[in-house]
Symmetry: C2
Subunit: 201 residues, 2 copies
Amino acid sequence: MGNVIADMSMSLDGFSTGPNDGPDNPLGEGGDRLHAWMAGLGDWGERPDLTGPHAEVFRASRGHVGAAVMGRRVFDNGVAPWGENPPFHVPVFVVTHQARQPLARQGGTTYTFVAGGIASALAQAQAAAGDKDVLLGGGADIVRQFLEAGLVDELQLHLVPVLLGGGVRLFDRMGPEHIELNCVRVVDAPGVTHLRFRIMR
Amino acid sequence: MGNVIADMSMSLDGFSTGPNDGPDNPLGEGGDRLHAWMAGLGDWGERPDLTGPHAEVFRASRGHVGAAVMGRRVFDNGVAPWGENPPFHVPVFVVTHQARQPLARQGGTTYTFVAGGIASALAQAQAAAGDKDVLLGGGADIVRQFLEAGLVDELQLHLVPVLLGGGVRLFDRMGPEHIELNCVRVVDAPGVTHLRFRIMR
Protein backbone atom coordinates (compact mmCIF):
# COMPACT_ATOMS: atom_id res chain seq x y z
CA MET A 1 0.00 0.00 0.00
CA GLY A 2 1.27 3.50 -0.81
CA ASN A 3 1.47 6.55 1.41
CA VAL A 4 -1.25 8.99 2.31
CA ILE A 5 0.14 12.40 1.37
CA ALA A 6 -1.57 15.62 2.41
CA ASP A 7 -0.63 18.27 -0.14
CA MET A 8 -1.45 21.88 0.70
CA SER A 9 -0.34 25.41 0.00
CA MET A 10 -0.14 27.60 3.10
CA SER A 11 0.75 31.23 3.77
CA LEU A 12 3.52 31.97 6.23
CA ASP A 13 0.84 32.93 8.75
CA GLY A 14 -0.86 29.57 8.37
CA PHE A 15 -3.79 30.18 6.05
CA SER A 16 -4.93 27.96 3.21
CA THR A 17 -7.37 30.59 1.92
CA GLY A 18 -7.44 34.38 2.18
CA PRO A 19 -9.98 36.25 4.30
CA ASN A 20 -13.67 36.62 3.43
CA ASP A 21 -13.99 33.50 1.32
CA GLY A 22 -17.42 32.67 0.02
CA PRO A 23 -19.26 31.03 -2.87
CA ASP A 24 -18.20 33.79 -5.26
CA ASN A 25 -14.65 33.91 -3.95
CA PRO A 26 -13.76 30.39 -2.79
CA LEU A 27 -10.06 31.11 -2.19
CA GLY A 28 -10.77 34.31 -0.25
CA GLU A 29 -9.10 37.67 -0.80
CA GLY A 30 -5.57 37.10 -2.00
CA GLY A 31 -6.02 33.34 -1.76
CA ASP A 32 -4.99 32.88 -5.39
CA ARG A 33 -1.60 34.12 -4.22
CA LEU A 34 -1.17 30.75 -2.48
CA HIS A 35 -1.53 28.86 -5.74
CA ALA A 36 0.35 31.23 -8.04
CA TRP A 37 3.45 29.04 -7.86
CA MET A 38 1.46 26.30 -9.61
CA ALA A 39 0.62 28.42 -12.64
CA GLY A 40 1.71 26.70 -15.80
CA LEU A 41 2.50 23.41 -14.14
CA GLY A 42 -0.61 21.81 -15.60
CA ASP A 43 -1.60 18.26 -14.83
CA TRP A 44 -0.99 16.41 -11.59
CA GLY A 45 0.39 13.39 -13.44
CA GLU A 46 3.73 12.68 -15.07
CA ARG A 47 4.92 15.66 -17.05
CA PRO A 48 8.37 14.85 -18.42
CA ASP A 49 8.42 18.21 -20.21
CA LEU A 50 8.37 20.15 -16.94
CA THR A 51 11.71 21.40 -15.62
CA GLY A 52 12.92 23.34 -12.61
CA PRO A 53 12.48 22.88 -8.89
CA HIS A 54 8.70 23.26 -8.89
CA ALA A 55 8.38 20.56 -11.49
CA GLU A 56 10.56 18.20 -9.53
CA VAL A 57 8.42 18.63 -6.45
CA PHE A 58 5.26 18.45 -8.49
CA ARG A 59 6.30 15.17 -10.04
CA ALA A 60 7.56 13.71 -6.78
CA SER A 61 4.32 14.68 -5.05
CA ARG A 62 1.91 13.67 -7.70
CA GLY A 63 3.59 11.34 -10.13
CA HIS A 64 3.05 8.31 -7.92
CA VAL A 65 -0.50 9.10 -6.95
CA GLY A 66 -3.10 6.41 -7.60
CA ALA A 67 -6.13 8.13 -6.13
CA ALA A 68 -7.13 11.39 -4.47
CA VAL A 69 -9.40 12.39 -1.59
CA MET A 70 -10.89 15.85 -1.16
CA GLY A 71 -13.67 17.63 0.69
CA ARG A 72 -16.95 18.52 -0.96
CA ARG A 73 -16.26 22.22 -0.89
CA VAL A 74 -12.97 21.80 -2.70
CA PHE A 75 -14.84 19.72 -5.25
CA ASP A 76 -17.66 22.25 -5.60
CA ASN A 77 -15.19 25.04 -6.20
CA GLY A 78 -13.01 23.01 -8.52
CA VAL A 79 -15.30 20.95 -10.66
CA ALA A 80 -16.07 23.72 -13.17
CA PRO A 81 -12.49 25.02 -13.66
CA TRP A 82 -11.12 21.47 -13.81
CA GLY A 83 -13.46 20.86 -16.75
CA GLU A 84 -14.06 17.83 -18.91
CA ASN A 85 -10.49 16.53 -18.67
CA PRO A 86 -9.49 17.23 -15.05
CA PRO A 87 -5.83 17.33 -14.03
CA PHE A 88 -6.02 14.30 -11.73
CA HIS A 89 -6.19 11.32 -14.14
CA VAL A 90 -6.97 9.09 -11.17
CA PRO A 91 -10.11 8.23 -9.19
CA VAL A 92 -11.11 11.08 -6.87
CA PHE A 93 -13.13 10.41 -3.72
CA VAL A 94 -15.15 13.34 -2.43
CA VAL A 95 -16.07 13.34 1.28
CA THR A 96 -19.64 14.59 1.49
CA HIS A 97 -22.79 14.35 3.55
CA GLN A 98 -25.04 13.62 0.57
CA ALA A 99 -24.46 10.55 -1.57
CA ARG A 100 -24.83 11.04 -5.31
CA GLN A 101 -23.94 9.19 -8.50
CA PRO A 102 -20.29 9.14 -9.56
CA LEU A 103 -19.21 11.58 -12.26
CA ALA A 104 -16.93 10.15 -14.92
CA ARG A 105 -14.66 12.55 -16.76
CA GLN A 106 -12.13 12.17 -19.53
CA GLY A 107 -8.53 11.16 -18.98
CA GLY A 108 -9.05 8.76 -16.09
CA THR A 109 -10.67 11.05 -13.53
CA THR A 110 -13.86 9.78 -11.88
CA TYR A 111 -15.44 11.65 -8.99
CA THR A 112 -16.97 9.28 -6.44
CA PHE A 113 -18.99 10.73 -3.57
CA VAL A 114 -18.52 9.09 -0.18
CA ALA A 115 -21.02 9.81 2.58
CA GLY A 116 -19.46 7.38 5.05
CA GLY A 117 -16.80 9.69 6.50
CA ILE A 118 -13.07 10.02 6.01
CA ALA A 119 -12.19 6.41 6.90
CA SER A 120 -14.55 5.09 4.25
CA ALA A 121 -13.25 7.56 1.68
CA LEU A 122 -9.68 6.57 2.47
CA ALA A 123 -10.43 2.85 2.27
CA GLN A 124 -11.99 3.29 -1.17
CA ALA A 125 -9.12 5.50 -2.33
CA GLN A 126 -6.51 3.00 -1.13
CA ALA A 127 -8.34 0.17 -2.87
CA ALA A 128 -8.33 2.20 -6.08
CA ALA A 129 -4.70 3.29 -5.69
CA GLY A 130 -3.30 -0.20 -5.15
CA ASP A 131 0.37 0.23 -4.26
CA LYS A 132 0.40 3.88 -5.32
CA ASP A 133 -0.07 6.88 -3.03
CA VAL A 134 -3.30 8.56 -2.01
CA LEU A 135 -3.19 12.32 -2.35
CA LEU A 136 -5.17 14.33 0.17
CA GLY A 137 -5.95 17.62 -1.51
CA GLY A 138 -7.88 19.52 1.17
CA GLY A 139 -9.64 21.47 2.37
CA ALA A 140 -8.11 22.33 5.69
CA ASP A 141 -10.88 20.61 7.66
CA ILE A 142 -10.40 17.29 5.86
CA VAL A 143 -6.62 17.46 6.34
CA ARG A 144 -7.13 18.17 10.03
CA GLN A 145 -9.52 15.23 10.43
CA PHE A 146 -7.03 12.92 8.72
CA LEU A 147 -4.14 14.19 10.87
CA GLU A 148 -6.08 13.82 14.10
CA ALA A 149 -7.09 10.29 13.11
CA GLY A 150 -3.45 9.40 12.47
CA LEU A 151 -4.15 8.61 8.82
CA VAL A 152 -1.51 10.82 7.17
CA ASP A 153 1.96 9.48 6.34
CA GLU A 154 3.44 12.58 4.72
CA LEU A 155 2.70 16.25 4.53
CA GLN A 156 3.77 18.16 1.45
CA LEU A 157 3.52 21.81 2.41
CA HIS A 158 3.99 24.57 -0.13
CA LEU A 159 4.90 27.52 2.10
CA VAL A 160 4.16 30.82 0.40
CA PRO A 161 5.97 33.88 1.78
CA VAL A 162 3.01 36.14 2.38
CA LEU A 163 1.14 37.16 5.51
CA LEU A 164 -2.57 37.14 4.56
CA GLY A 165 -3.87 38.22 7.97
CA GLY A 166 -7.01 36.10 7.75
CA GLY A 167 -8.76 33.20 6.08
CA VAL A 168 -9.07 29.52 6.86
CA ARG A 169 -6.21 28.23 8.98
CA LEU A 170 -4.72 24.97 7.76
CA PHE A 171 -3.92 23.87 11.32
CA ASP A 172 -6.76 25.04 13.50
CA ARG A 173 -8.69 23.51 16.35
CA MET A 174 -6.24 20.63 16.44
CA GLY A 175 -6.35 18.48 19.56
CA PRO A 176 -3.87 18.87 22.41
CA GLU A 177 -1.91 15.81 21.27
CA HIS A 178 1.42 17.01 19.89
CA ILE A 179 2.18 15.63 16.45
CA GLU A 180 5.87 15.35 15.67
CA LEU A 181 7.07 15.47 12.10
CA ASN A 182 10.38 14.89 10.41
CA CYS A 183 11.34 17.20 7.59
CA VAL A 184 12.63 14.95 4.82
CA ARG A 185 13.01 17.39 1.94
CA VAL A 186 13.23 21.13 1.46
CA VAL A 187 13.14 22.71 -1.99
CA ASP A 188 13.65 26.44 -2.07
CA ALA A 189 11.90 27.46 -5.30
CA PRO A 190 10.93 30.88 -6.67
CA GLY A 191 8.00 32.24 -4.68
CA VAL A 192 7.48 29.15 -2.55
CA THR A 193 9.35 26.79 -0.24
CA HIS A 194 8.35 23.17 -0.68
CA LEU A 195 8.61 21.32 2.63
CA ARG A 196 8.01 17.60 2.84
CA PHE A 197 7.45 15.97 6.23
CA ARG A 198 6.98 12.42 7.49
CA ILE A 199 4.49 12.21 10.31
CA MET A 200 6.17 10.43 13.24
CA ARG A 201 4.16 7.69 14.90
CA MET B 1 22.01 51.83 9.89
CA GLY B 2 21.67 48.07 10.13
CA ASN B 3 18.62 45.90 9.61
CA VAL B 4 15.82 45.16 12.03
CA ILE B 5 15.64 41.38 12.23
CA ALA B 6 12.78 39.58 13.93
CA ASP B 7 14.09 36.22 15.11
CA MET B 8 11.55 33.66 16.29
CA SER B 9 11.02 29.94 16.63
CA MET B 10 7.61 28.75 15.47
CA SER B 11 5.84 25.40 15.31
CA LEU B 12 4.53 24.21 11.98
CA ASP B 13 1.04 25.16 13.14
CA GLY B 14 2.14 28.70 13.87
CA PHE B 15 2.69 28.82 17.63
CA SER B 16 5.57 30.52 19.42
CA THR B 17 4.58 28.95 22.77
CA GLY B 18 2.73 25.76 23.64
CA PRO B 19 -0.79 25.76 25.14
CA ASN B 20 -1.62 26.78 28.72
CA ASP B 21 1.33 29.09 29.24
CA GLY B 22 1.46 30.96 32.52
CA PRO B 23 3.84 32.40 35.09
CA ASP B 24 5.01 28.94 36.14
CA ASN B 25 5.23 27.66 32.59
CA PRO B 26 6.14 30.63 30.37
CA LEU B 27 6.72 28.59 27.20
CA GLY B 28 3.49 26.60 27.60
CA GLU B 29 3.14 22.84 27.36
CA GLY B 30 5.69 21.52 24.92
CA GLY B 31 6.92 25.03 24.21
CA ASP B 32 10.49 24.08 25.12
CA ARG B 33 10.26 21.85 22.03
CA LEU B 34 10.45 25.03 19.95
CA HIS B 35 13.80 25.99 21.41
CA ALA B 36 15.39 22.54 21.65
CA TRP B 37 17.36 23.16 18.44
CA MET B 38 19.21 25.95 20.25
CA ALA B 39 20.51 23.69 23.02
CA GLY B 40 24.26 23.91 23.24
CA LEU B 41 24.57 26.88 20.91
CA GLY B 42 25.25 29.20 23.81
CA ASP B 43 25.77 32.91 23.33
CA TRP B 44 24.14 35.08 20.71
CA GLY B 45 27.46 36.66 19.79
CA GLU B 46 30.36 35.47 17.64
CA ARG B 47 31.18 31.87 18.40
CA PRO B 48 33.92 30.78 16.01
CA ASP B 49 34.02 27.39 17.74
CA LEU B 50 30.49 26.53 16.64
CA THR B 51 30.13 24.39 13.55
CA GLY B 52 27.28 22.92 11.52
CA PRO B 53 24.22 24.42 9.86
CA HIS B 54 22.65 25.70 13.09
CA ALA B 55 25.82 27.52 13.96
CA GLU B 56 26.01 29.16 10.57
CA VAL B 57 22.48 30.45 10.92
CA PHE B 58 23.09 31.43 14.49
CA ARG B 59 26.14 33.48 13.58
CA ALA B 60 24.51 35.01 10.52
CA SER B 61 21.48 35.97 12.60
CA ARG B 62 23.20 37.19 15.67
CA GLY B 63 26.83 37.85 14.91
CA HIS B 64 26.12 41.29 13.49
CA VAL B 65 23.65 42.37 16.13
CA GLY B 66 24.36 45.64 17.91
CA ALA B 67 21.27 45.82 20.13
CA ALA B 68 18.15 43.85 20.93
CA VAL B 69 14.51 44.69 21.59
CA MET B 70 12.10 42.43 23.47
CA GLY B 71 8.78 42.56 25.27
CA ARG B 72 8.52 42.74 29.04
CA ARG B 73 7.14 39.26 29.36
CA VAL B 74 10.04 37.75 27.45
CA PHE B 75 12.32 39.70 29.76
CA ASP B 76 10.48 38.61 32.91
CA ASN B 77 10.71 34.98 31.87
CA GLY B 78 14.29 35.19 30.74
CA VAL B 79 16.08 37.42 33.20
CA ALA B 80 16.68 34.69 35.79
CA PRO B 81 17.86 31.93 33.41
CA TRP B 82 20.01 34.40 31.48
CA GLY B 83 21.79 35.14 34.73
CA GLU B 84 24.65 37.47 35.55
CA ASN B 85 26.34 37.14 32.16
CA PRO B 86 23.45 37.05 29.69
CA PRO B 87 23.94 35.68 26.18
CA PHE B 88 23.27 38.99 24.41
CA HIS B 89 26.46 41.01 25.04
CA VAL B 90 24.70 44.06 23.60
CA PRO B 91 22.27 46.64 24.98
CA VAL B 92 18.76 45.19 25.34
CA PHE B 93 15.70 47.45 25.24
CA VAL B 94 12.63 46.09 26.98
CA VAL B 95 9.23 47.45 25.86
CA THR B 96 7.19 47.94 29.01
CA HIS B 97 4.42 50.04 30.49
CA GLN B 98 6.34 50.83 33.66
CA ALA B 99 9.60 52.69 33.49
CA ARG B 100 12.33 51.48 35.82
CA GLN B 101 16.08 51.85 36.26
CA PRO B 102 18.35 50.08 33.78
CA LEU B 103 19.95 46.81 34.88
CA ALA B 104 23.59 46.38 33.97
CA ARG B 105 24.91 42.85 33.64
CA GLN B 106 28.32 41.39 32.86
CA GLY B 107 29.64 40.91 29.37
CA GLY B 108 28.09 43.95 27.72
CA THR B 109 24.41 43.31 28.35
CA THR B 110 22.40 46.18 29.82
CA TYR B 111 18.64 45.98 30.13
CA THR B 112 16.98 49.36 29.49
CA PHE B 113 13.23 49.68 30.07
CA VAL B 114 11.34 51.79 27.54
CA ALA B 115 7.82 52.94 28.38
CA GLY B 116 7.40 55.02 25.22
CA GLY B 117 6.24 52.26 22.89
CA ILE B 118 7.90 50.27 20.14
CA ALA B 119 9.05 53.24 18.06
CA SER B 120 10.90 54.71 21.00
CA ALA B 121 12.45 51.35 21.87
CA LEU B 122 13.56 50.90 18.29
CA ALA B 123 15.04 54.40 18.07
CA GLN B 124 17.09 53.80 21.20
CA ALA B 125 18.17 50.36 19.99
CA GLN B 126 19.23 51.72 16.60
CA ALA B 127 21.19 54.51 18.25
CA ALA B 128 22.97 51.93 20.40
CA ALA B 129 23.54 49.54 17.48
CA GLY B 130 25.11 52.11 15.17
CA ASP B 131 25.57 50.40 11.80
CA LYS B 132 24.87 46.96 13.24
CA ASP B 133 21.54 45.13 13.22
CA VAL B 134 18.79 45.32 15.80
CA LEU B 135 17.49 41.91 16.84
CA LEU B 136 13.81 41.66 17.71
CA GLY B 137 13.48 38.70 20.02
CA GLY B 138 9.75 38.56 20.71
CA GLY B 139 7.28 37.93 22.07
CA ALA B 140 4.74 37.40 19.36
CA ASP B 141 2.81 40.57 20.18
CA ILE B 142 5.89 42.77 19.85
CA VAL B 143 6.86 41.15 16.55
CA ARG B 144 3.32 41.69 15.26
CA GLN B 145 3.37 45.34 16.28
CA PHE B 146 6.69 45.86 14.52
CA LEU B 147 5.47 44.07 11.38
CA GLU B 148 2.24 46.06 11.23
CA ALA B 149 4.18 49.29 11.67
CA GLY B 150 6.47 48.36 8.77
CA LEU B 151 9.54 48.41 11.01
CA VAL B 152 10.93 44.93 10.24
CA ASP B 153 13.49 44.40 7.46
CA GLU B 154 14.05 40.68 7.85
CA LEU B 155 12.35 37.76 9.50
CA GLN B 156 14.47 34.84 10.64
CA LEU B 157 12.03 32.03 11.31
CA HIS B 158 13.10 28.79 12.91
CA LEU B 159 10.35 26.42 11.79
CA VAL B 160 10.07 23.44 14.11
CA PRO B 161 8.31 20.37 12.71
CA VAL B 162 5.73 19.83 15.41
CA LEU B 163 2.01 20.54 15.62
CA LEU B 164 1.40 21.90 19.14
CA GLY B 165 -2.35 22.36 18.77
CA GLY B 166 -2.42 25.50 20.90
CA GLY B 167 -0.49 28.33 22.46
CA VAL B 168 0.33 31.87 21.38
CA ARG B 169 0.21 32.30 17.61
CA LEU B 170 3.17 34.17 16.18
CA PHE B 171 1.03 35.71 13.43
CA ASP B 172 -2.33 36.47 14.96
CA ARG B 173 -4.75 39.35 14.68
CA MET B 174 -2.67 40.84 11.89
CA GLY B 175 -4.36 43.53 9.85
CA PRO B 176 -5.95 42.83 6.46
CA GLU B 177 -2.97 44.35 4.65
CA HIS B 178 -1.10 41.55 2.93
CA ILE B 179 2.60 41.54 3.70
CA GLU B 180 4.77 40.02 0.99
CA LEU B 181 8.09 38.49 1.86
CA ASN B 182 10.97 37.14 -0.15
CA CYS B 183 12.66 34.01 1.07
CA VAL B 184 16.39 34.70 0.84
CA ARG B 185 17.85 31.69 2.59
CA VAL B 186 16.73 28.23 3.61
CA VAL B 187 18.85 26.02 5.85
CA ASP B 188 17.51 22.53 6.43
CA ALA B 189 19.09 21.57 9.76
CA PRO B 190 18.40 18.67 12.13
CA GLY B 191 15.09 19.26 13.88
CA VAL B 192 14.45 22.70 12.45
CA THR B 193 14.26 24.54 9.13
CA HIS B 194 15.79 28.00 9.25
CA LEU B 195 13.95 30.34 6.89
CA ARG B 196 15.15 33.88 6.31
CA PHE B 197 12.86 36.40 4.64
CA ARG B 198 13.18 40.00 3.48
CA ILE B 199 10.01 41.98 4.04
CA MET B 200 8.98 43.53 0.72
CA ARG B 201 8.01 47.19 0.80
